[in-house]
Subunit: 333 residues, 2 copies
């Protein structure tokens, strides 16, 4: 059965029936009215992210369930990057009429799985016909609040000369997984790990919250690629950054499978969804203590005007392939 | 210049520069960070609505500016239908690479115009490449709050036997405007009025707020079509409705241009974005007083199980062409 069988209303009812029954997060009105309603936190965070079939993921190579997980995970990562806690999602599906209903069920299963892990309530959405499959999620979150009632956020504009730069985990795994998918690489354990990293990213809500609690006030998630995302921080803060290439943590699985490209994937590949944190060294050390895992120091902030300088082991400046994900000009996926 | 010229980041910067400079509605972080942030009202309303080119509007027959207005207006209407006040919008654009930058500028101009009229702050969004143009807006709003702190909402499930049914304005104008566009009808003043009604709908935030203040607790916006939307209320409330066809207010411009179809357009045409209100007669009269304009009484609620009975002047039941807009099964536009 494809989605042109049931009416829009029947399909919405089917998806609603798949959702957990208990209301959470202060939900007052969920799916089925003109708008959702919930009791608000003091400060709301809000983000939105879209995946279009053939542009952002490869139908046939990626399961619908994984696509559902990833669509929500990408949004959760934006909330993590502000140091917040994800809360309510609105899910818009653009469906070609020949989309199998089972594909929508599977997509929703992945969404619901991710929502369960991260405490997100799916509160509403929209379903429309379109020539190509797409999913857009709008996600709200709750910002941390200081004792005086002001919001505590990880901002891109808060980097200061003298700050240390760290990342919360290994980079490039997602790019390696994508390469493996495109190359139809044999499914060794290392390749499977990389593909999992690409398909089932784990946004670092824990790390964002620990950073806020430790006094860190500058951060971004690594979704476009390390150099590009660090560049966003430098541009927003009006500073330069020194990036120590030998310190950038590529996962061993990546170095084993793609030894020649691992460093480029780690610095230029997107969608690892680790956090880049920028703060005085003591605050980063405190965040690491709270988190219970080490952060990896990869550089420092200098006076400047938005430039990222990548340094090799000898301290010489290297040209970095600034790949990243700019959908409009490159459409790499 | 098409959108494959500037990078995604440059295009976002261009659109951000077009937005009003003053922060409003308690905005703390707008476009340019990982997520937007704002000071929350006690209860948040949230909705999302999508328009896809060729499915929901006709590029070439509808200006980009009008498309931008309507995309936001459709969302505002959902907030109005809950009795709330619209607040923050996240705007996602799916752009084919050959989209002219000027089209995006115009679309944004229409969005900004509508946002200005209704006090909406555009706080963020996403821009992606896609094979077909689409715009998805997620909109939040503020719910009215009772003295005891509980939220005051217009719910679909709150209709009770004995309630009166009323609408806030004329219906079918939008369907007439669409027909005129499809027929390339000569642009008489009546036709121009209908097309304006189709392209520049005016969501009834005022009427929703007046209804709440008057004690009305059941409402829906007429976006799918009167009979279908009244059917949603009946299904959610577990009641039947008697709809008095001769009382349904078709605008005189519609009756003049499409005399044979006016009643079908008024009962089945979507996107008029008037409100359907259901409440004891006294509450509706009070809402009308507060609003300063009459509401039109079109029927009453009976015990039942979700059925809408349309009655002609003699009280006989008529079969209604249940057109409405169900994108998945009909794809009428």
């Amino acid at each position: 059965m494809d989605v042109s069988g049931p009416s829009e209303f029947a399909l919405i009812e089917r998806l609603r029936a798949a959702l957990p029954k208990h209301a959470a997060n202060g939900l007052v009105v969920g799916i089925g009215d003109d708008a959702a309603a919930w009791r608000s936190p003091a400060y709301t965070l809000a983000t939105t992210d879209t995946m279009v079939a053939g542009v952002h993921f490869l139908p046939g190579r990626v399961s619908w369930r994984d696509a559902g997980w990833k669509a929500l995970a990408a949004n959760i990562s934006d909330i993590a990057a502000m140091g917040g806690t994800p809360a309510f999602a609105l899910v818009t599906l653009c469906l070609p009429p020949d989309t199998p209903v089972e594909a929508v069920d599977e997509l929703y299963a992945g969404l619901i799985e991710c929502a369960g892990v991260y405490g997100v309530t799916i509160a509403g959405g929209d379903i429309v016909t379109a020539p190509v499959f797409g999913i857009t999620i709008a996600l709200t979150g709750e910002a941390a609040v200081a004792a005086d009632g002001s919001p505590l956020l990880l901002r891109r504009e808060a980097a200061r000369a003298g700050d240390a730069i760290a990342v919360t985990g290994p980079l490039g795994g997602s790019a390696g997984g994508l390469r493996a998918l495109l190359d139809d690489a044999p499914l060794t354990p290392d390749i499977a790990w990389l593909i999992e990293r690409h398909m089932r990213p784990r946004p670092r809500v824990d790390a964002g919250q620990a950073a806020i609690a430790a006094g860190v006030r500058c951060g971004i998630d690594i979704s476009d690629g390390l150099v590009q995302d660090l560049g966003h921080v430098c541009a927003a803060s009006g500073v330069d950054a020194e990036l120590w290439l030998p310190s950038v943590p590529a996962p061993p699985e990546l170095s084993a499978c793609f030894p020649d490209d691992a460093i480029n994937m780690a610095t230029g590949g997107g969608e690892d969804y680790e956090l880049l944190l920028v703060a005085p060294e003591a605050a980063l050390a405190h965040a690491s203590d709270l988190l219970g895992t080490p952060l990896t120091r990869i550089g420092r902030v200098l006076e400047g005007a938005g430039r990222v300088r990548a340094l090799d082991a000898g301290g010489g400046e290297m040209q970095i392939e600034l790949a990243g994900w700019d959908h409009l000009t490159q459409g790499r996926r």
